[in-house]
């Protein structure tokens, strides 16, 4: 339905469960994809799976210089960056009273500051092209909060505010900036939970199941499409009804 043929997309955190499916979905819709992540092996694997129109762009988002250079490398590899998906994220959980400055700062740096730097770099080319799509992957906990995740919740709420500010700055240039906020999604991270933990989580989800990575990817493809050109500054919640916001 949504055709991204001829568009180029840079996806961070493409080695992870959700990021890989976002890249797959954008690629399936016709886009050229730049796969970014810290670990090269899974990126190479994904690129091999996708075949043509896939580029590996390894980058450690906790290193400012690498972040600054990533969009440029994307442009060199793909000719442009029409679509930017800031999906990469880390957690350093712990109750606030026991949270170190380092754990606070590293989560804010990677999740929020790196996303900002990539937006800033990507917008330059998008302004010239008078077209762009930025999709920032937030989280339901950015709105609801979650004990043990003060740093993560702050970073994810920060992405929403940042996206709204950016959206209003660049709307007149055909660039949209939106967020997708996943709820509980089946990934390697949630696989580690035991049945009792899963049961506890699912009791809070009206849909009665966890979401699947491809359900996040579908939301991203929509926001990346030409059809979504009038949607900007929005947060699309994909959470099975666990928070109706």
């Amino acid at each position: 339905m949504f055709d991204l043929t001829g568009k180029t997309a840079l996806v961070t955190g493409a080695s992870g469960g959700i990021g890989a499916d976002i890249a797959r979905a954008l690629h399936k819709a016709g886009a050229v994809v730049g796969l970014s992540g810290t670990r090269v092996a899974p990126l190479e694997e994904l690129a091999a799976e996708l075949g043509e129109r896939a580029h590996v762009l390894a980058c450690n988002l906790s290193v400012a210089e690498e972040v600054e250079g990533l969009v440029k490398r994307g442009v060199e590899a793909m000719g442009s960056v029409d679509i930017l998906v800031n999906n990469a994220g880390i957690t350093r959980d712990g109750l606030a009273m026991r949270m170190s400055d380092e754990d606070w700062a590293s989560v804010i740096d990677v999740n929020l500051t790196a996303s900002f730097r990539l937006c800033r770099a990507a917008i330059r080319g998008m302004m010239k092209a008078r077209y762009g799509r930025i999709i920032n992957i937030s989280s339901v906990v950015g709105t609801t909060g979650n004990p043990g995740q003060a740093n993560y919740c702050a970073s994810k709420a920060g992405m929403v505010g940042m996206s709204k500010a950016l959206a209003s700055e660049v709307a007149s240039r055909g660039i949209t900036v939106n967020c997708v906020a996943p709820g509980f999604i089946e990934t390697a991270m949630t696989d580690k939970l035991n049945e009792a933990q899963k049961g506890g989580i699912l009791s809070a989800v009206p849909a009665g199941r966890m979401g699947r990575p491809e359900e996040i990817a579908a939301a991203v493809v929509y926001l990346a499409s030409g059809e979504a050109g009038y949607v900007t500054g929005a947060t699309l919640h994909v959470n099975g009804g666990m928070a109706m916001i």
Binding site: R124, M127, V170, S172, R173
Partner: protein
């Protein structure tokens, strides 16, 4: 007209989509040439790229007219 002024004018004409004869020495980007705040940022970035210079924010704020831009860039290159 100097080479710098020609290059600046070309950028302004292309970017703002205005007639070349409107881009006079005293023409204000915002008041006379229809630029918005985002346009002025884009213009400064285009000047930086074209001339390989850095225009700090406080200097950028002083560049209001075509003449300001040519003057600043002539000193900076």
């Amino acid at each position: 007209m100097s080479d710098i002024a020609d290059r600046v004018k070309k950028i302004v004409v292309e970017h703002l989509g205005v007639e070349e004869d409107k881009v006079t020495e005293t023409a204000s980007f915002i008041d006379d040439l229809g630029a918005d705040s985002l346009d002025t940022v884009e213009l400064v970035m285009a000047f930086e790229e074209e001339f390989g210079i850095e225009i700090p924010d406080d200097a950028a704020e002083t560049i209001q007219t075509f003449g300001d831009a040519v003057g600043f860039i002539s000193k900076a290159v």
